[in-house]
């Protein structure tokens, strides 16, 4: 292999406008959505999806469905069939929909969710965790003793699509995040067949420190710059 200039490197990552990106999401998809609270949610992708597609029947894997977010908007439009996450109590509308059987909810402890995502992206299908052992959440789950302590068998999570919020991408598709907006985003990026990322800014290759890249481009499929009509 010979030395090459920056411009001559091309990866499999696509750089698209939001509308093109979300058009790749299949209907009734199982889809991961990053974010904790209102921080690190891919709002621009969700907004574009709401406005430009008719996708519904979604299964959403996300820590919660925050009121005021576009994920909540998507839910209010009746386009979410099932939610897998840790905390839905804060949205009265989600609680109401659950009582009226309009949404199915699968509740996981937050540490189980985060590890299930990371291991889902790592080819590990299941793991034992001490969390929830002996509680109602483990009622229908296998458990097993290791060194005299009880652990619950949890299956890892994968999905067709992940919508991810990052801070910057380089032209290869490498990602860095910003402060506590990182949360579940790098884990979901690893765990989906189609990882679509929204970023504040796209920079040239070489501008991100190789020691500092959090998500190497191998986990990324599509990058969208926020508010950019086309690339």
């Amino acid at each position: 292999m010979s030395e090459m200039s920056v411009g001559s490197i091309i990866t499999n990552v696509e750089f698209l406008c939001a509308e093109e990106a979300v058009s790749k999401i299949p209907n009734k998809a199982r889809m991961m959505v990053g974010g904790f609270g209102r921080s690190g949610i891919p709002e621009y992708l969700l907004e574009t999806m709401i406005e430009t597609t008719e996708i519904d029947g979604l299964t959403i894997i996300s820590n919660n469905i925050s009121e005021g977010s576009n994920l909540h908007h998507l839910f209010m439009l009746g386009r979410i069939k099932k939610a897998i996450g840790t905390y839905y109590t804060t949205s009265k509308e989600v609680v109401k929909a659950y009582r009226e059987n309009r949404i199915e909810i699968e509740l996981l402890p937050q540490g189980t969710l985060s590890e299930a995502l990371r291991l889902g992206g790592s080819g590990i299908p299941a793991f034992y965790t001490p969390t929830s052992a002996g509680t109602e959440l483990a009622k229908n789950k296998e458990s097993r003793m290791f060194n005299g302590r009880e652990y619950v068998l949890e299956e890892s999570l994968t999905a067709k699509v992940a919508l991810v919020r990052a801070h910057k991408a380089d032209r290869a598709g490498n990602l860095i995040y910003r402060k506590s907006a990182r949360n579940f985003n790098p884990l979901m990026a690893m765990a989906a067949d189609l990882t679509i990322v929204e970023v504040d800014e796209i920079v040239e290759m070489g501008e991100l420190d190789p020691e500092q890249i959090v998500t190497p481009f191998i986990f990324v499929d599509v990058v969208v710059e926020r508010g950019r009509e086309n690339d």
Binding site: F36, N63, Y88, E115
Partner: protein
């Protein structure tokens, strides 16, 4: 004593349990603990991916990308770091946190804790509580002694769904401090403002008097506090 004064006393008393190390504070009374921790000696962990949580910012410095687990804007400190949720829960589950201070609906004499669900109600939120309680080296429950309706919270057996079994180390209320050792409850501190008779009335769980038992005068402590 106002509700807030009670809460502040409990928070202050809980803070006295922590000399140094890394702590995760739950929502409610535990959040107030931050105000009373030794500055610079205790580092706060937030499960959404911050080690070294600083105080609340002035409004003009608020950053939507910098919030704590309670979704409130925070700041960072010179030794802070950011990481993903998986590493954050590795810290908790892996036993790396020196302590957590959390609230509870019910605590049992054997260290069981119930803090996330009420029987008969929909259970739609668990968050990070289970990992926190299962993983922290020391679980300190900071709670009012009884519910708003006056029902005991320290019980011989939890009636609500458990958060974790046998993990509570210390219980701190506005009237007393209990330690749990080998699944047994010991009273180690009582405020002079309550009699043993009254304390027994609001404490459903049986307890023994701990070896280092002492009585404190809450009014004096609170005076120093304000």
């Amino acid at each position: 004593m106002t509700d807030l004064t009670v809460k502040r006393y409990i928070a202050w008393r809980a803070a006295q349990e922590l000399q140094a190390g890394v702590v995760n504070l739950g929502i409610g009374i535990p959040t107030l603990v931050a105000d009373y921790l030794s500055p610079g000696l205790v580092t706060l962990h937030s499960e959404n991916g911050i080690l070294g949580v600083g105080p609340s910012p002035v409004p003009e410095d608020e950053d939507p990308d910098l919030i704590n687990a309670g979704k409130a804007p925070v700041t960072i400190q010179p030794h802070s770091s950011f990481f993903d949720s998986s590493l954050s829960f590795a810290m908790m589950r892996g036993g790396h946190l020196d302590a957590t201070i959390i609230g509870a609906l019910q605590v049992a004499a054997n260290g069981d804790i119930a803090s996330w669900a009420i029987p008969g109600k929909d259970v739609l939120g668990v968050g990070g509580a289970m990992d926190l309680v299962v993983g922290a080296k020391r679980v300190i429950v900071a709670t009012t002694h009884v519910t708003p309706k006056g029902e005991p919270k320290i019980l011989s057996k939890c009636k609500y769904p458990l958060t974790a079994k046998g993990r509570v180390d210390t219980i701190i209320t506005e009237y007393a401090v209990f330690k749990i050792r080998q699944s047994k409850l010991y009273l180690v501190e009582k405020v002079e403002e309550i009699s043993f008779e009254d304390l027994n009335q609001i404490t459903e769980a049986p307890y023994e008097i701990g070896g280092n038992f002492k009585t404190v005068v809450r009014e004096e402590l609170m005076h120093a506090l304000s």
